[in-house]
């Protein structure tokens, strides 16, 4: 990503657009899934993903280092999702919502059922956690970020983040074991 101010010439603008498109393409699925795990429904995840990318790309000077940019984008995405959950909680709305997307016709029915069951298990299990426990679990165990980076993203200390991760794993395991036949 270029590190100067807003581009002046048409060529600079085209180059910036191409870099922005490549950045979005490279990270879109990861960020959508991260946000979806936190908010639990596709429509909100779509809106929040777009919002997170727009916030990040409006400050493109922050995106020079690819690895730092990926973490920075995850941080914006996590905070955007947590803000959304806080607002939803203030309005008294429910936690994670069910998946309302239609099932695709072309998928094998057995595979579709198994995948839907696993996805439901995951989302219901995540729904038992507080937003910060959920974020810690998703970032550590699904995004595979080190605990130090999870602490940075959640703006808290390492001991606090370990506590969130431990609580989240204990609660998720209890939920998962109750669901076993």
């Amino acid at each position: 990503m270029p590190d100067s101010g807003p581009p002046q010439t048409g060529m600079e603008q085209d180059a910036l657009r191409a870099e922005r498109d490549a950045f979005v393409e490279a990270h879109l699925k990861r960020i959508f899934l991260l946000i979806y795990r936190l908010v639990g429904n596709v429509a909100d995840a779509q809106d929040l993903t777009q919002e997170a990318f727009i916030k990040a790309l409006q400050r493109h000077e922050q995106l020079r280092d690819a690895e730092k940019a990926a973490h920075w984008l995850s941080r914006i995405a996590t905070n955007t999702a947590l803000d959304h959950l806080r607002k939803r909680a203030r309005r008294g709305e429910a936690g994670l919502e069910g998946i309302s997307a239609p099932a695709p016709e072309e998928m094998n029915p057995e595979h579709r059922l198994l995948r839907a069951e696993r996805a439901e298990l995951l989302q219901e299990g995540l729904g038992r956690l507080t937003p910060r426990e959920r974020a810690a679990l998703v970032l550590r165990d699904l995004e595979d970020l080190p605990a130090e980076e999870v602490a940075r993203q959640l703006n808290c200390g390492k001991a606090t983040v370990r506590s969130h991760i431990a609580n989240a794993r204990v609660k998720f395991r209890k939920y998962w074991e109750r669901r076993q036949p």
């Binding site: 807003p6 657009r17 922005r20 498109d21 979005v24 393409e25 879109l28 699925k29 959508f32 899934l33 979806y36 795990r37 596709v42 429509a43 779509q46 993903t49 777009q50 919002e51 990318f53 727009i54 790309l57 409006q58 998946i99 309302s100 997307a101 239609p102 099932a103 695709p104 998928m107 579709r112 995948r115 839907a116 696993r118 996805a119 439901e120 298990l121 995951l122 989302q123 299990g125 679990l137 550590r140 165990d141 699904l142 605990a147 370990r162 506590s163 991760i165 431990a166 609580n167 794993r169 204990v170 998720f172 395991r173 998962w176 074991e177």
Partner: protein
């Protein structure tokens, strides 16, 4: 066997997240304690189950969802750029009263629309979704049912992006390049 590690320690150990001194103590205990080994395996199995459900939500057509999000992100950036340019041109004071005028006008439109909708008679029965075809066009969106096709939105310019969304609806955002105002027409098939 005494001094078993608690469940939280085992949960952290399952993911390699204990500080090194505690990790050594727990690992030493686990070598001699079958009950704690089974507890640890329980956490590992739960983690594996968590990861196995972590793909895309079932039923989501990723290609069309991604295309829609990419188009909306481009649009949002273009709108932000238009607002920034406008702010630079006119200065903040002019922008302030114009923004206030836009907000007032928008509130008035919402109030009138709400009043009109409340007074509107019940709509005629709509055709079933199997008969309705929604599609983006260069002028906006069109709805086709039976032998009739109507351009439902035609604001006089092509949409910045138009896409069939993942849930079967059609969405077309329009960007006013002077003000940065974005109007999104979103029609859902029911």
């Amino acid at each position: 066997m005494r001094n078993h590690p608690d469940a939280r320690d085992l949960a952290l150990h399952a993911g390699g997240d204990l500080p090194w001194a505690r990790r050594l103590a727990v690992a030493w205990h686990l070598r001699r304690c079958g009950a704690c080994q089974r507890e640890l395996q329980g956490f590992r199995d739960a983690l594996a189950a968590l990861r196995s459900g972590a793909g895309l939500p079932p039923g989501v057509d990723w290609e069309s969802l991604a295309a829609e999000m990419q188009a909306n992100i481009r649009l949002g950036l273009a709108a932000g750029e238009a607002i920034r340019r406008r702010g630079q041109k006119e200065g903040f004071r002019a922008a302030d009263w114009r923004a206030a005028a836009v907000v007032t006008a928008a509130l008035a439109i919402v109030a009138v629309a709400g009043w009109t909708l409340q007074r509107r008679p019940a709509p005629a029965p709509s055709p079933s979704s199997a008969e309705v075809v929604l599609r983006p066009t260069e002028e906006g969106l069109s709805v086709k049912w039976g032998g009739t096709e109507a351009a439902v939105f035609g604001p006089g310019r092509a949409p910045a992006a138009a896409a069939v969304s993942w849930d079967g609806g059609v969405r077309a955002p329009f960007l006013d390049e002077e003000t940065g105002q974005v109007t999104i027409y979103d029609v859902a098939a029911q």
